[in-house]
């Protein structure tokens, strides 16, 4: 593996010196034939890749007018250039969002605009050479689709859509990324990103029941495939497997226990995450989402609640209705059946934070806040929750609700610097399908802006715990915090804090 180095924290957050090609060697492993073909993509780079790539681009432009608008409307004003965490951390000018998206914009001009066809040089049109295609592979895999740059774009260009289109074109010519595509294959085959089969899941959940009994004295259950349960909880499979993720899963179970609500997990839909979003492939995204509908129909649940996972909540909030009929919108037979089954007095789907906060507001949960007194907590907004979804009934609910929960369960809370939180939050550095070991150097560098604001509140406010509601953020920070001199265990979930403080009625 290449050397992994963390840049020094900057005293003033000024843009870095430009270092051309600083990250030209960074790229994820290319998906091998077996992984590509398992999800219906060509096994390797096809011979007529140029023709196919341009053809696929044309189809995307036809199907998504938004893409054409994003490619047409950029005026190169530069407002985005210093907003990307990967540019700030690496100095590579191709990581300025405008330059990264120009890798595709040039090809678009050459093949899909009159001026570009006639006078390519005058309008910055570029041919799609193998070198350009390789640059796509490198630099679109240095974009975590976090959409921070879009917040600052005066034209509202959603650069993540351009990255997603590039990844889709690359997949269509057999130039896929191993990490994301292997995971998608596992979901189709086994039901979750980890490849955790039903019996292993059952064994893991039984172990958690034992642990929680030991800790609390209460019979907190972790039900699996329980027909007739009121709630289906869909959560990232990392919650079953990894630390600190599992602490939040225990938190959800305690909330359901305290509320006296019957709930269940599903071995068929044992994954909230949906990497189909990351690779910009609607069919993959739909196929993954349909598992949740199938599980909901099979189990007969009335509510679907989503655990702490950033992009899963984006897919659930923004796409599940038309992808799978969860929520209003779908009009096929199964969607109609599901909609008559779900209890529409509740938001469908509901985020676990909305659920917990509703209970807190109703006075249905009580807490021993001092159980979190050894912590000074800050909250890291995860990009897909912050910039691509909402919670609750008021604008900004996705910012307020997690913070409200933290403040209800812990006494010490400190905000990070404005401009690095809420809609302007910085990506953890590992989102969008980049959470893979061979990209560790990029991930460490991309975490720089977040680490700078964390350092400020750690030194100035005594912060020793950064709460977040995303499995990728949790895994990424656990890995990269030590590179910046922090303890890896200072990151955890909002429901980890809930778990520590919640009072369970039948404690003895």
């Amino acid at each position: 593996m290449a050397d992994v180095t963390a840049p020094p924290l900057r005293e003033f957050p000024i843009p870095p010196k430009v270092e051309p090609d600083a990250m030209a060697a960074s790229k994820p492993y290319v998906a091998p034939e077996k992984i590509q073909e398992a999800i219906g993509f060509p096994g390797q780079l096809v011979e007529n890749w140029h023709e196919k790539a341009i053809g696929r681009m044309g189809e995307l432009l036809r199907d998504y007018r938004s893409l054409r608008v994003y490619l047409d409307s950029c005026v190169h004003c530069g407002a985005c250039s210093d907003k990307c965490h990967y540019y700030l951390g690496t100095g590579d000018p191709k990581n300025m969002p405008v330059a990264r998206q120009d890798l595709m914009r040039g090809v678009y001009r050459r093949h899909f605009t009159v001026a570009g066809k006639l006078f390519p040089k005058l309008v910055g049109a570029k041919e799609l050479t193998k070198e350009v295609l390789d640059d796509w592979y490198k630099y679109y895999n240095q974009c975590s689709e976090c959409r921070r740059c879009s917040v600052f774009c005066p034209y509202g260009i959603d650069t993540a859509e351009v990255t997603m289109a590039a990844k889709e074109i690359l997949d269509s010519v057999g130039y896929g990324q191993k990490y994301s595509n292997e995971i998608i294959g596992k979901v189709h085959k086994i039901g979750n990103n980890l490849g955790l089969p039903g019996p292993a899941l059952e064994d893991t959940l039984l172990g958690l029941e034992e642990d929680t009994k030991e800790e609390t004295g209460c019979d907190v259950r972790f039900p699996l495939d329980q027909k007739g349960a009121e709630v289906l909880l869909v959560t990232p499979s990392a919650d079953f497997f990894a630390e600190p993720h599992v602490e939040s899963l225990i938190g959800y179970a305690k909330v359901f226990h305290a509320a006296g609500v019957s709930w269940t997990l599903s071995s068929h839909a044992s994954e909230a995450g949906n990497f189909g979003l990351f690779i910009g492939n609607y069919d993959q995204m739909r196929k993954i989402a349909l598992r949740i509908r199938e599980a909901a129909l099979e189990l007969g649940v009335k509510r679907i609640i989503v655990g702490e996972c950033g992009h899963a909540w984006r897919v659930a909030y923004s796409f599940w209705n038309t992808l799978a009929g969860i929520g209003a919108g779908g009009d096929d037979k199964f969607s109609v059946e599901l909609q008559s089954q779900l209890d529409m007095r509740y938001r469908q789907p509901t985020h676990i934070c909305e659920y917990t906060w509703d209970l807190i507001e109703k006075g249905a949960l009580t807490f021993d806040k001092e159980k979190n007194d050894h912590r000074v907590v800050t909250f890291h907004d995860s990009c897909n929750v912050a910039r691509a979804s909402r919670m609750g009934d008021t604008p900004g609910g996705q910012f307020e609700i997690p913070r409200n929960i933290i403040k209800a369960v812990a006494n010490n809370y400190v905000e990070m610097r404005p401009g690095t939180t809420r809609e302007a939050t910085f990506c953890c550095g590992g989102g969008g399908g980049l959470l893979t070991d061979e990209l560790l150097d990029l991930r460490v560098k991309g975490a720089l802006p977040r680490m700078e604001s964390l350092r400020e509140v750690a030194d100035g406010g005594g912060v020793n715990f950064m709460a977040t509601i995303c499995a990728i953020c949790k895994a990424q920070f656990t890995k990269i915090l030590p590179y910046y001199g922090f303890n890896r265990s200072m990151v955890g979930g909002v429901h980890q804090l809930v778990s520590a403080a919640i009072r369970l009625g039948d404690k003895h």
């Binding site: 995971i183 089969p197 061979e438």
Partner: protein, 110 residues
């Protein structure tokens, strides 16, 4: 990629994970450990052996909690922690220990 042990060559992926689970034996594990700069003690072997046993039964590596609990039972309650596993396998117990145990790399948001 490949790893050579006792004069025989075994196929690995780009990151050094064994491609064929059935190839694994203790000599190969020891050779991978050398590449990972891990000095294998009895406690390391306890972890590796448990991973193998669990994988045989469930076709997946155990969750970190399952692993810490099992190690606690074998090596004493004070060693039942994620922190202790990181001391044994600094790159992360899930991935590094799996690699030495000849198991596939855990995927997903871990």
């Amino acid at each position: 990629m490949a790893i050579e042990v006792n004069g025989k060559t075994y196929e690995t992926d780009e990151e050094g994970y064994l491609v064929n689970l059935a190839d694994w034996d203790k000599d190969i594990a020891a050779a991978i450990a050398v590449e990972e700069k891990i000095d294998m003690t009895d406690n390391h072997w306890e972890v590796v052996n448990f991973l193998r046993e669990y994988y045989d039964e469930y076709q997946i590596a155990p969750a970190v909690r399952v692993l810490t609990k099992a190690i606690g039972k074998k090596l004493g309650a004070e060693k039942a922690s994620n922190q202790y596993l990181y001391e044994l396998f600094p790159y992360g117990p899930a991935k590094q220990a799996c690699k030495i145990a000849g198991l596939p790399k855990p995927t997903g948001c871990v």
